[in-house]
Structure formats: structure tokens, C-alpha cells
């Protein structure tokens, strides 16, 4: 008995150690970027174009480019993803087809990001002749975040109790009316969580936009969706590997802006989900 108590102590200590091995480096990464990046952040850095071959000036075009891309991706992915989620949770039966759809979603989520880049290049840039443009990049990112939006929205829809639907149907509402006026409103927080997570993912990815939209250096802002654009993650890649002698401060500053954007969105999503779970009355 003593022996098993001691081995339990050792085992738990090891499990705790493993957890620390993940948590401490994560904390270290975030802290080091904040500490070293903060001195670079000022109004000029956020609102100016890059100057002197990206060794000075700001990152404004990259921030704007990323915003355009993310908005474009969500405009494309949210309607399709939401309707797909409605199909899976409200219409599909447990059969071969729904099994195939779920498998397809899992696979979409698992396709390497650089393969999305290849696909976007082949379909949107070359085949549809959109060229390297915000349109091509947004569509590529949109397809990439589709599984996130479908999965989270579907969970949200399925967590609405069955009795809600039954009451609505028994009062003579049609199936679509029930979904539109009863199920959807109750699932909004969950859908919002998924949407924000999708936004965060789209904002941080580099590989899918490499060949579909990203411009190395572009001093003016894009004028239409058929223009190339700079993007924050690609800009960070460029100034940390392609351009020599960039001040470390600028690199850290860029990393900080990107990290803040992505982590902020994720934090908002986590908080919405947490609040919603607490408030839930059923």
C-alpha cells in the first residue's frame, strides 16, 4: 500500500511536470514578444507604410491587407458554413451520406495549409484567372476555415434542446420557421464563437496566401478585390528571413501586432463560450 501511494505521488509529479513543459514555453513565447515588441509600437508604426526597404516606417498596408483578407474569407465561409451546419444538425439522418460529409469536414480540416495555397493557385489564380488578388486569397482562406465554422456552429445548433423544436412544431410552425425563429437565435453565441475562431485562423495563416495574394512590398493600399495586398503574417516572414538587417524591434513589433490580433480574437471566443455556458438555462 505504501508503495502504491509513493508511485502515485511520483506519477502525478511527472504529469504535472509535463504540463509545465507546455505551459512555461507558451508563457515565455508570449512574454518575450510582448516585452521586446512593445517598444516598437507607436502610432507611426501602425499607420505608416514600410520605408527604406522595410527597415523603417510602419506596417499599415499589411494590417489593412490582413483585414481585407479576413473579411473576405468570412463573407464567403460564414453563409456556406452556417447552412451546412443547419443541414447536418436539422436535416441529415444518420446514414452513409452524413457520414461522408463528416469525413469530408475532418479531411478539409486536415489538409496542410500549403496544399490550400497550391489549390488556390491552380483554381482561383490560374484557372479562373483572378490572378494573385484579394479575391483569390480570401476564397482560399474561406475554404480553409469552413470546417471550423461548420463544426462549432453544428455543436451550437445541436445543443439547443429538442423540446424547443417540438413545441414550435406543435404550434403549427413549419420546419424552416422553427429553425429560423427558435433554433438559430438560441445558437447565436456558439455560432459567433466559431466565426471568431475562423477569423483568428485566417488572420494568422501564411502558406495559403503565399501564391494567391501576398505582395512582398506594396507602398499603396489595394483599390479593388482584384489587387494584390500585403498581409501581416507574410510580412513577418519576409522581414525575418528575406530582408537582411531589419531592426529586431520592427520584427518583434510586427510579431506582437499579429499575435495580439489572433490571441484577442481567440480570447473573445473563449469568453463568449464561457459566459454562454454559465447562462444557459436548460
Amino acid at each position: 500500500m505504501r508503495n502504491s501511494a509513493r508511485s502515485q505521488k511520483i506519477a502525478f509529479a511527472l504529469l504535472f511536470l509535463a504540463t509545465l513543459l507546455i505551459v512555461i514555453p507558451v508563457g515565455f513565447i508570449v512574454v518575450i514578444i510582448v516585452i521586446k515588441g512593445l517598444p516598437a509600437i507607436n502610432w507611426q508604426f501602425l499607420s505608416d507604410i514600410p520605408r527604406q526597404g522595410m527597415r523603417a516606417g510602419g506596417i499599415f498596408p499589411a494590417i489593412i491587407g490582413t483585414l481585407y483578407l479576413v473579411i473576405g474569407a468570412i463573407v464567403f465561409a460564414l453563409p456556406i458554413g452556417l447552412l451546412a451546419a443547419i443541414y447536418l444538425s436539422e436535416y441529415s439522418k444518420e446514414n452513409f451520406l452524413s457520414r461522408m460529409i463528416k469525413l469530408a469536414i475532418v479531411n478539409l480540416a486536415g489538409v496542410p495549409s500549403v496544399v490550400y495555397g497550391l489549390f488556390g493557385l491552380a483554381l482561383f489564380v490560374v484557372f479562373f484567372k483572378f490572378g494573385a488578388s484579394i479575391l483569390s486569397g480570401s476564397l482560399t482562406l474561406g475554404i480553409m476555415i469552413l470546417p471550423i465554422i461548420i463544426t462549432t456552429s453544428r455543436e451550437a445548433l445541436e445543443s439547443v434542446p429538442h423540446s424547443f423544436r417540438e413545441v414550435s412544431l406543435s404550434l403549427g410552425a413549419s420546419k424552416w420557421q422553427t429553425i429560423r425563429y427558435i433554433v438559430l437565435p438560441n445558437a447565436i453565441p456558439g455560432i459567433l464563437t466559431g466565426t471568431i475562431l475562423g477569423l483568428g485562423r485566417a488572420a494568422g495563416e501564411t502558406a495559403p496566401i503565399l501564391f494567391t495574394v501576398a505582395a512582398f512590398y506594396l507602398p499603396q493600399l489595394p483599390k479593388s478585390i482584384f489587387d494584390q495586398a500585403m498581409a501581416l503574417p507574410y510580412h513577418l516572414y519576409v522581414i525575418s528571413t528575406q530582408v537582411p538587417n531589419v531592426d529586431e524591434k520592427i520584427r518583434y513589433g510586427t510579431a506582437l501586432v499579429l499575435l495580439t490580433m489572433v490571441l484577442f480574437m481567440n480570447l473573445v471566443a473563449i469568453i463568449i463560450r464561457y459566459k454562454f455556458r454559465k447562462r444557459k438555462k436548460w
Partner: protein, 294 residues
């Protein structure tokens, strides 16, 4: 009128429901369309097994064996690091951590998953690369090992969250039964919980590995990108390698549309797509089996 409107809405919902299958199909089709054109120039066997990748020499040598081995080496290293740590962390979070800490740890893991890979690559370049260089007295810190360590951090969130789900879905009665028979908490975890959740944990490991093989930016920034056949383990780890993904990302910008090189990069895309497809389908089977059994 209303009936008509609802008819169209429901058809639209069905179409969107099928969209994911459609997109998987379209992705595969376009990879094939561009990639298979390569095999007019070289044989598939030569493409997979030739030892030289010199895409811009005349004539181009397009053997991806060094790239495949580079990917395998980096992935193996990342798996060795991330699997034990990830599973242990999942056990800690699901079985040991008290309520509040559990929520915080879960949120922390989610944040790690959210850090963009280019940011991890950047941090790896600045911190990890010099460390590896100094510790092993190497001419450069851009090695397979550096990539493995950084990639382990990208695999861990996947491993932890999927494994934690698997442990969570083990029926409470299993645990209570073991405890009631006088087993300690650790004995219950080790002899009852782990075996009961084993297929889910296996799925977690596979999905983590899938994430590592597909990772691009961080790998490209810190593994050194030299397309040579790596030496035997463990010496291969302290050497620069180049992965399948990094090759596509680094070279597609220069490849001329319609050239042999361009087709070859798409053919690498096919290889990656098939690998990730196989991993995801298998992992899904494991997860499904768990659900039906319990």
C-alpha cells in the same frame, strides 16, 4: 408562396451541406490536374525514389526522396517529444487538475493552438536556433532537431485536446468501479482509464502527427532547407534538412506556371494530400470505434 420560399431554402441548405464533399473533391481534382502532368516527363517511381532534387538544373532532377526523408525525420523527432508530454498533460488536465486550474489550462492550450505558425517560426529563429547551435557546437542551428522541437509545440494542442476528450468520454462507472475495488487514483488512471481511452488517444497522436507533417512556415524558417538525404539517426537531427511542405512554399514563387518544376511541386502537393487524407480517415475510424463501443 411561403411553401415555395421554404422549398428553395431547404434545397440551398442541402447544397451547402454537400459543399465540404464538393471542396475536398475539387481540391484533389486540381492537385491531380496540375500534378499528374509531371509524369509525362519522369516516371512516378523516379519521382518518389530518386536521390536528387535539383529543380532548376538542366535537365531538371526531380527526385523527392530527400524531401520525404526530411519530413519523416522532423516528424519523428516532433512525435517523440510531443506524444509523451501531450498525453501526460491530457491526463493531468482531465484527471488531476482541480476545477479552476483545469479551465485555465484548457484555455492556455487553446491559445497555444492559436499562435500563428509564422510567429512560432520567428521565435524559433531568434531563441531556439542559437541555443541548438551552441549546445551541439554546430556551424548552424538551423537543423532538423530545431524544427522537431518547434513542431512538437504545434502538435501538442491537438494531442492534448483530442486525448482529453477521449478520457472524458470514458464512462464514470469504469473509474468508480476501480476505485471501489481499492485501486489508488493513479492505478485507476494507468490500468483503467488509459486502456479504455486508448483508441481515442491513438487518434489524438495521429492527428498531432498529421498537423506536424503539414506544417509549413515554421519548418521553412528553422530547418535550414537543404535538400539532401539526411544522415542516420541521431546524426541526421543536427543537420539541415528540407521538408515536402517547405519545398512547395519556398519554390512555387519562382516556378514558371506550366513548367516541369511547377508540375513537380503540385505532385508533392498530391503526396501531402494523400498522406493527410490517410491519417485523418484512420484517426476518424479510431474515434468512431470508440463511440460505438462505449
Amino acid at each position: 408562396m411561403r411553401k415555395l420560399k421554404e422549398f428553395f431554402i431547404e434545397k440551398l441548405i442541402l447544397v451547402c451541406g454537400l459543399a465540404s464533399i464538393f471542396f475536398v473533391g475539387v481540391i484533389f481534382f486540381f492537385l491531380l490536374k496540375e500534378g499528374l502532368a509531371l509524369f509525362k516527363f519522369i516516371k512516378p517511381v523516379a519521382f518518389l525514389l530518386d536521390r536528387n532534387w535539383y529543380p532548376i538544373s538542366e535537365p531538371a532532377q526531380l527526385g523527392i526522396l530527400p524531401l520525404i526523408l526530411g519530413s519523416l525525420l522532423v516528424t519523428l523527432g516532433a512525435a517523440v517529444i510531443s506524444v509523451p508530454i501531450g498525453v501526460a498533460c491530457a491526463l493531468y488536465i482531465s484527471e488531476i487538475a482541480p476545477g479552476k486550474l483545469k479551465e485555465v489550462l484548457k484555455a492556455g492550450i487553446e491559445l497555444l493552438a492559436a499562435i500563428p505558425s509564422v510567429v512560432l517560426g520567428f521565435i524559433g529563429m531568434i531563441t531556439l536556433v542559437p541555443w541548438v547551435k551552441n549546445i551541439f557546437y554546430l556551424p548552424t542551428g538551423l537543423t532538423a532537431l530545431t524544427g522537431s522541437i518547434m513542431l512538437a509545440f504545434m502538435a501538442m494542442p491537438t494531442i492534448v485536446s483530442v486525448a482529453e476528450d477521449a478520457l472524458y468520454s470514458v464512462p464514470k462507472s469504469y473509474k468508480e468501479g476501480a476505485l471501489a475495488m481499492g485501486a489508488t487514483h493513479w492505478q485507476t488512471i494507468w490500468r483503467v482509464m488509459l486502456p479504455a481511452a486508448s483508441s481515442g488517444i491513438l487518434a489524438a497522436v495521429m492527428l498531432g502527427i498529421g498537423r506536424v507533417i503539414g506544417e509549413t512556415m515554421a519548418v521553412m524558417m528553422i530547418t535550414g532547407n537543404s535538400a539532401v538525404i539526411p544522415k542516420m539517426i541521431p546524426f541526421g537531427f543536427v543537420q539541415s534538412v528540407r521538408t515536402l511542405t517547405a519545398t512547395i512554399a519556398a519554390e512555387m514563387g519562382e516556378a514558371v506556371v506550366g513548367s516541369e518544376h511547377y508540375f513537380a511541386l503540385f505532385a508533392i502537393g498530391i503526396v501531402l494530400f494523400v498522406i493527410s487524407f490517410a491519417i485523418n480517415v484512420t484517426a476518424d475510424l479510431f474515434l468512431h470505434r470508440e463511440k460505438t463501443r462505449l
